[in-house]
Symmetry: D2
Subunit: 337 residues, 4 copies
């Protein structure tokens, strides 16, 4: 299998390179970008390991050499590049790690990203690649919108509750993310002296990942709301999300743990932890796992669900490769264990 990455110089792109280089079914890996440099010039840790040139984006060439194309461009850029790829070949296979094809309509895209969508006729045509929820759709898809990092950490632990319609009222998600989630672009909040020895909540009620989550949650019916508070942590990678959820009267808090264990029993990348065991970033670092802790007190109004992922792996590049494995019908964990 031959793969291309468009936009490999961001942190997500680098992670994709790392994973795909070890993937036993990838025989060739091509890199394309907006600047023509060598990958190891941008990331000198790859000297002697992978000294590939990043070629200037050339839609024809990309499509010609690739069985699968990963787009790791920033949002707003992806939707400029992607149409050119489809023009070259109707049934091209794309896994887009940007946000550009996650939202199904232009209004919500405009609201979240403050830009007109430039390829609106393809909104809604991508499968939302949350593997554990959409496996069957992914198998049949050629176009995948890889979920955001925060949404992955929040929607995965919501799955058993959404599927059984257990949630009453508003979902509260208090999420803490490592700095790599904010990308490589310089920014005052990410200046070492500012982020170090600090934790900063931001974009309260306003984070651009909220519509993506609401769209997914609404697809299960009902009219639930979501309050999402992201925080920036002084660590490189990982997201820990704590969910506070009220269970409908028709369910008992005590039954929820069982629900989780059943739902994820056969999911290779979701680990429901034991009763007094707590997820944390260090346990999932550099892995494609989503760890979930289920905390139940029968006398409390809410249950507490805690998840941990590596934002660059399960929250980005790892899930993208998991999507590829599903699309191509190969072992879902290939290259990811």
């Amino acid at each position: 299998m031959k793969a291309s990455i468009i936009g490999p110089t961001g942190y997500t792109g680098r992670e994709l390179v790392k994973i795909l280089l070890k993937h036993p079914d990838i025989e060739d890996l091509y890199l394309f970008g907006r600047r023509q440099i060598y990958f190891h010039e941008e990331y000198p840790e790859f000297i002697g390991v992978f000294e590939k040139e990043i070629e200037k984006i050339d839609a024809k060439k990309i499509v010609d050499v690739s069985d699968i194309i990963f787009i790791a461009l920033p949002h707003k850029i992806s939707m400029e590049v992607t149409p050119m790829l489809r023009l070259q070949k109707n049934d091209v296979r794309i896994i887009d790690l940007s946000a550009d094809y996650r939202l199904e309509n232009s209004e919500s895209y405009f609201k979240a990203y403050e830009t007109e969508h430039k390829d609106p006729s393809f909104q809604g045509k991508y499968t939302y690649g949350l593997c554990e929820a959409k496996r069957n759709d992914i198998k049949k898809s050629r176009l995948i919108a890889n979920p955001g990092c925060y949404p992955t950490s929040i929607l995965l632990p919501l799955l058993p509750l959404l599927e059984k319609d257990c949630i009453e009222g508003t979902i509260i998600a208090d999420s803490k993310s490592g700095a790599s989630g904010a990308g490589k672009k310089l920014n005052h909040m990410l200046h070492f002296v500012e982020n170090n020895e600090n934790i900063v909540p931001y974009k309260i009620f306003k984070h651009q990942h909220t519509p993506e989550m609401m769209q997914f949650i609404s697809s299960y019916g009902g009219s639930r709301d979501l309050i999402f508070t992201p925080h920036l942590l002084p660590v490189e990678r990982g997201i820990l999300s704590v969910l506070y959820i009220k269970i409908k009267e028709s369910f008992k808090n005590e039954d929820i743990r069982n629900l989780f264990e059943k739902r994820f029993k056969s999911e290779i990348f979701v680990r429901v932890l034991g009763e007094n065991d707590v997820p944390s970033l260090s346990r999932v670092k550099n892995t494609n796992f989503c760890d979930i802790g289920v905390f139940i007190d029968p006398e409390k109004e809410y249950i507490v669900i805690i998840s941990a992922i590596d934002n660059l792996v399960k929250g980005a590049a790892g899930q993208a490769v998991q999507n590829m494995n599903i699309m191509f019908g190969i072992n879902e964990s290939k290259g990811l264990k």
Copy 2:
């Protein structure tokens, strides 16, 4: 004024030393402890600054030399030492930074700390020293139980809502604390390699500060519950608490900001931040401030209140000195600005 600190070798004790050394009304500062060493041997940053001997605890001497006694011993130890001080002098003035006199009855103490209280007849006789809530009681008190660090960060922002009885149902508090809050005692969770690049939630539904908070909340009537999720952060100091609160129907979300601004207008150590301004640890580090951010969306089921304090200052030693200032009728911010 002459002050003594019993137990100055912990992180809270050290912070007290720092603050009291700069306090213009403290003419003498004595140190007492379980081990007889020099303070600068324990904390070499004090070489040339404060090279005082820590004397072995001697109740008579302590009471004789002190106008005010700060107890910075671990819980369970304070209640062994304190009765000896009172025996020496009936009306001794004590500010106890341990947890031993915060709870009003032995059952809740046993539940929280898994030990029989050894001085139960004095439980309930201490004023709970949350300065902004109990100022008038503190003025008249000789015995102060200084609040815990998490409770300070959570109860202060609850004050306006409790006083006006605005809260519907359960209060959710998602708190993140620096490692100094867990003390100086070696512990696997606090080993550098374990805490670094990590965030770990712990004691979900079970943290020993919960009864202290519930006792305070209940004192305002009603039967509200509290869900409290503490986390350990890879930073030295600071607590950030995010509160998710449902407002009673008789109030409007939009009015809550005004409530906070009014309530804290004349409080020198509580800063209600502007509308889009967000509390963070670095802003309150080494200060006695509690910063509060009020986030309101009229369409949401909950409001979001965020507080930040320095756990060792406003959450411990700073608040203790503020209590002293109030007790002695001197300017509340003396030595704390």
Copy 3:
């Protein structure tokens, strides 16, 4: 005494504000800068503490309101602003924290900073404000060039050896600095993800502070050389310098400790540590101390001298205020303990 700071928005400027606000002899503190904003807008931790406007630089006004002017502008900017101040008043008192007046001739300035000096007639007219070395000159000076942070950490421990002419051959200085030393300007090396969990040596043989150190070292005669290796650490503040020095045959390694103890005995801000005691950043953080460890093995070819300072205090703002105290004949440690 009335003081002005020109350029208070950098990390050094902020530190100066902190120190001067607590200085008992400073009755008024004025801020001037290139942008007209409020200080607490730039540094919100000062809300409710110091909400002063930063006025646009106005040479006449600055000179009129100030007994002493601190310049905390970046190098290259200071030498544009300073001549205007002197034009207003011949005998204005200035403490310049930039690098612009540390070097005595234009060639070495050009070599170090790759710019023509714009005020060359005043190079050499400033006293190099390394307080412990130049106290008598400082007393008589109106123009002080405050030393760089690395030079302070390296030249102070060299003092006893330079004064007694003990050093044979090249001095080796291996220095490690916190990120605040590199300033507030965004920069890839200081992006959190890059600096975190890392240590990076830089500008080997080429750091711009080398000529400043060589000028000072040469002033003691002889033709010693210096090899200086700076590193960037994943901490906010502090510099640790390790010096490897060969002692001339006319001296014995064993006598060096005594030399240090004697030389610094009466220096309030230099602490020569005991024999097995080692300097570290945390001990000097937020203080004006320079801690020095002297390590001698009679059988070794070199002695090892280790120093630690807080780069923003003794390495910048603290030393600047110490200089002011000396200039004005007040207690040298006023406002600094």
Copy 4:
């Protein structure tokens, strides 16, 4: 090939498990230790990945099931366990990651580790497994003493200079190590609050790795000395060593870069960086590389050589596996790229 690890619960043991699990030639991996628990109980990140029981140490069984035995026990313990293995089988293959068989005589062991060696007749019978220096010896050995982490970072960049006999006088090595190098045992210096935001030099002139390095250096003849200053960094992993070396008059500083490039040209795990390129921890993290920077100024008395390794990989487990690959004649980089 079947491998056993004795002592897998330390940080080095965990790293060995990670590497051996991915090694294509290892078909079975057995764990033995002093406590009988499951590996994933000690390291919960291995839940669902490697849930193997650690069996109680049983010399007969270990020897029976293993083609190769890795000893990751602390020093002083290894020399108690190892003789039992040899008793079972004369020609057992052992790679010992502890310090117990690195020193060739009992006196230097006693001096470094303050204990009598318990298996002195086998001191000197182990090959010192610095792969790039001892490849031919390793091929023929059954007993390997895996080098210490600091020695690996210092001796590798010394190799070209030792082999060509270029070094004049004393070698100066200023090394900075991440906290994992100090192990998992609780220790005040490694308590988060103490190590965070700090850098601490320690054991100046006295570190136990010095005799190991001196033994290796002396084996090249001459009577060079070494001054070694280790520091503890607030990062998890990595060692950066800066070497200051005087070159003999018969060589020119300018020729040294060439010497390094030639010497390491065919070494897969040593990367000599380009002229202005500087080693750093993040580039070698989680890899078996040793990056080397060569800094030459023809006018300086010393050259500066900088190396960076991951202390747990090239400085421990990775080098151990590289040793195994060499012993068994398989591709030296197998399982390590």
